[in-house]
Every structure is written in C-alpha cells, then in structure tokens.
Symmetry: C2
Subunit: 193 residues, 2 copies
Amino acid sequence: MNDPIDQIKKAISNYIDVDDLEWADYAQDFSLKSVKKKELILQQGRICNTVFFVRKGLLRVFFVDANGEEKTFHFSMENTFSADYESFLKKKPSNYSIQTLEDSELILMPFEMLHRGYEILKNGEKLGRLLAEEYFFLFSSKIHAIYTQSPMDRYNQLNKAYPNLLQRVPQHYIASFLNISPVHLSRLKNQSA
Amino acid sequence: MNDPIDQIKKAISNYIDVDDLEWADYAQDFSLKSVKKKELILQQGRICNTVFFVRKGLLRVFFVDANGEEKTFHFSMENTFSADYESFLKKKPSNYSIQTLEDSELILMPFEMLHRGYEILKNGEKLGRLLAEEYFFLFSSKIHAIYTQSPMDRYNQLNKAYPNLLQRVPQHYIASFLNISPVHLSRLKNQSA
C-alpha cells in the first residue's frame, strides 16, 4: 500500500495545489488508525472532533430518526473524507453515527488541523470552501431525492455513484439508505437486472 | 435608506474583513433592481446566474415536488442573500424558484463576481467558505427537521428563526414550509398561543 500521508495528499490535491514544504509542516498532525469492521467511530450526540479519511475499507453514516428507526444516510468509500462535518465545524453534538462496515485503515484529522490548515496552507481557505460546497451538494441532493425521486431513481443513482457497493454492503443498509423496505429493494434489483 | 453598496458591504463584513480599496474595485459590478411583489425572479429549471441580496422586502424560495405540489423551502429576509446556490456554483438547472412576497429592493451579484471575489478580495475564499458552510447548515437542518422534528418543533423553530414572519406571509406558504396543511397550522397556532 502507498505511504498513507502521500495517499491523503493525493486526495487533497484533487481540491487544491499543495507544495511539499507547507505539506511537510501540515501533515505531521495526522494520525493513523486501524479499525475492525462493525465498530462505532462516532456516536450520535457526541461532538465529532475528527475528520476521517478512508485509506482502505468502508464506513456507514447513519442516524436514529424520530420513530427510533435507524436510517443509513451515506457510505464513505476509499479515498474520501467522512465526518459529521457540521458537528466538527460547530463543535456541537452530532446528528449522525459512523461505523466501519469492513476492516478499515483510517487517517485522522483532529479539529486543530482545520484552523491550522487555513493558516499554513496557502490554499487552505479554498480547500475549506470546496469541502463545504461538497457537503452542501450532498445534502442538497438528499433533499432533492426525498421530494422528487422515485425509489427506482434513487436506486439507479446509488449504483451510478457507488459502483460495487451493492456487493459490499448488507442489503438492509442499502434499503434504509434508499428509504424503502428490503423486500422493495429486491423487487427493484430484479426489475433493473 | 442607506446607500445600497454600504448595506451589502456591512452584510459581507459579518463574514470577512473588507478594506475600502479592494471594495471600491469589487463593488462596481453590483446592480440594483426594484421588483414588485409576487414576481418570479428565478424559475425552477433555469440556471441561477445571480445571487440576490435582499435590501428591503421578502423572498420565497420554493419548488414543485414529484406530485406536482408546490413546497416552500425557505424565506429570504432583509440583509440576507438568496439564490439556488448549487445552480449558481455549478451552472446547472435550478431545483428552486424564487419569488418576491413584498415589493423588494434587491442587489444583484452576477456569476462573474464570484470568481472575481476569490481573486480580488484578500478574504474572498474565506467568504466563499463561510457562505457554503451556511448553505450546508441550512440544508442539514432541513434534513434533520424532516426526519426528527414534529410539526410543533418546526413551528417553534420557524418563529425563533424568523420573528414576525407569520404576520408578513400568507398562511398557506407557512403551512407548506412546515410540510403540514393550513388547518394543521391554525391548530398549532392556537396551541402555542
């Protein structure tokens, strides 16, 4: 496997230009963590003090709704960031839990790195802008899906956004992500096959 | 009334420090528009090429859902910005319409000012970050409300976030914002009175 710090640098380079000198200074505060599958790495109601970068593995972001039902909100794949980013930015209790669905290798970015990033990295504010915009787009697409998309639309969009996810994730999580029953999900899979 | 360009500068100064020299350069591309009430200033499906700053008046952001029903998503009050910000950033068809609910004085910020802002204003990227974070928080609170709040919770939150709005807006828009029927809304008002 690549050097972990190179791997996250590569991911960040998709957003901004980073030069080696500022990176050497900035990157020293990352830490690594191996987590077995099915472990909770953020608990709803606690403050999210860390952004997780998924080096390897797969995370599930979920919450418990007003009826006590667990809803899957998002899957975080390799080479993406995961957090309750609002809780992280505002230091307020998180609305979401995050768990590993597979044995995972994570890079941890503690809260202190956020403001240090704005100061140290010459494009740090731009990085913050692009990450916030990405979260905004994600939440916007969720709302759009709730109000205007059929279960089949959502299923097709999931397949497009996350190829192979259906093979990696227990089907009841996929169903809860799509806001349908597992039986409804099997029907959609048969229809689209 | 204040000078319009001073008014928007004051609003922007809530996000970032702006010095007079860069402001003089930047501000020349704003334009002013008076719009009578009940006019459409953005139509769902069109690209949102302008951010509107509400100098005076009141805007309603809404969309038509999968059942052809109109849903009120947001109200934009004086001294706030309004747009389909995702459509604006991505230049893709908007998911929302915007209309004036009162005779309004608007300051228009065309798309070109976005990237010029990142370049000209020394804190331009920070402004972009904070605006994107604000949109992200707004959409996040919407999702949270959909899944976990009762109509009464949403009603109380609306009153808190927008004092006096109930007196300024036709009640069926308030009901559609809260995702309840007008009859349900009158009941809530009586209960909370």
